[in-house]
């Protein structure tokens, strides 16, 4: 992302310490390493999220440990668990309350596709109501898999045209399933 460029020098004393980069890259670097997840814990996968956030697996090693339980203070919703039709309404509302930029991770089979609950009460994948950025398989998802998914999300964030999106041209993300 960066390079030390010794030719940029306005003060010979700090010349070697100047880093040149693109603003996009800098913004994305900051963003992707301070993801504040909000666990939308709806079923058993949420238990796995808890273990991922505790000392044994320790989600803070990857710069996303500031778990917030308020949508206003979070930018990554981790949908962990079975989304019933009755709860889907609340999930969508909470998603709407999160400030941009925001990302969604579907954690586990249930959130990704309805999982084993092929029945009258279960929404068959949370991507029918909110745009999902990363899907993670597993029933339940292992903490390692969750980290893998979150790191994939970090990579995605790192490639976003952050400046352009900052200028309020952020398009509404499409639903992948409709």
């Amino acid at each position: 992302m960066s390079s030390t460029n010794t030719e940029v020098g306005y003060n010979s004393k700090i010349e070697g310490g100047v880093v040149v980069t693109k603003l996009d890259a800098a913004l994305n670097w900051i963003r992707s390493h301070s993801v504040w997840p909000m666990p939308m814990g709806l079923a058993c996968c949420a238990i796995e999220f808890m273990s991922a956030s505790c000392s044994r697996f320790d989600i803070s090693r990857f710069g996303m440990e500031v778990t917030r339980f308020s949508p206003r203070q979070a930018d990554c919703m981790i949908v962990a668990g079975t989304v019933t039709y009755k709860m889907a309404e609340a999930v969508r509302r909470i998603y709407d309350q999160m400030a941009e930029p925001k990302w969604v991770v579907a954690m586990g089979a249930c959130a990704s596709s309805g999982g084993m609950f092929r029945s009258y009460s279960t929404l068959q994948g949370v991507d029918r109501i909110i745009p999902v950025d990363v899907y993670i398989s597993g029933c339940p998802t292992r903490p390692e898999a969750l980290f893998d998914g979150l790191m994939a999300l970090q990579e995605m964030i790192a490639k976003e045209p952050a400046l352009r999106l900052l200028k309020r041209e952020r398009p509404v993300k499409p639903l992948y399933f409709s």
């Binding site: 309404e89 969508r92 092929r118 029945s119 009258y120 029918r128 109501i129 909110i130 639903l175």
Partner: protein, 208 residues
């Protein structure tokens, strides 16, 4: 197998309350059928005279589309002093509008259990203080645990208008992909693992 204590209780109940009949085939506890119009009276006696202070559960039951009476409600009650259970079954007299008396006046704990039975099986509980759905959303038009309701569900409007306006989502029948999946009770894992009832979709099943 009913223990001696259970058999004794069953005998006593049948003798002391002549309108009560035995429910044959119980494998664990004393079990009786009570006519709907006597159910409250019997329940009060169970609590005040026989000492069944606690309600353990209440469930609704659909005995089959062609069965008559088709619906019943079943309460499990517990006696703390004697460590005894009794199962009380009340058939709903009307198959089209099944209704049995609510036990909330006797055991307040029956409240949510009866709401669940009403929600999923559609047995109404007369005298219930707050008979609303508890699992499905209020506007849901069906009772999904009835025998004639498909597991996958049926298409109905999504409960929240805002979400529909933004996403166009509908409540759809769930894809079954060879399911429902059932586990056999074989001896090895291979035969007891869940498998789909309908195996047609498998790759190695060439379709004719």
């Amino acid at each position: 197998m009913l223990s001696e204590k259970d058999l004794e209780l069953q005998k006593h109940l049948l003798e002391a309350y002549p309108y009560v009949t035995e429910r044959p085939g119980s494998a664990d506890h004393a079990s009786v059928d009570v006519p709907a119009d006597k159910a409250l009276e019997f329940a009060r006696a169970l609590r005040d005279v026989e000492g069944f202070a606690a309600i353990q559960e209440c469930c609704g039951c659909d005995w089959g589309v062609d069965a008559s009476p088709r619906f019943s409600a079943i309460w499990h009650l517990y006696n703390y002093d004697k460590h005894l259970y009794v199962r009380m079954n009340v058939y709903a007299p009307d198959n089209a509008k099944p209704e049995v008396p609510s036990m909330c006046p006797i055991w307040a704990g029956a409240n949510w259990h009866e709401r669940e039975a009403y929600d999923l099986v559609g047995v109404r509980f007369a005298g219930h203080p707050d008979l609303r759905r508890i699992m499905m959303w209020d506007a849901y038009p069906y009772h999904p645990l009835r025998k004639d309701f498909p597991l996958a569900g049926v298409e109905v409007p999504f409960p929240d208008a805002d979400t529909v306006a933004q996403t166009g989502v509908k409540v759809m029948p769930a894809p079954q992909n060879g399911g429902p999946f059932v586990s056999g009770c074989g001896h090895t894992l291979r035969t007891s693992e869940p498998f789909g009832r309908d195996q047609e979709w498998r790759e190695n099943n060439r379709k004719g």
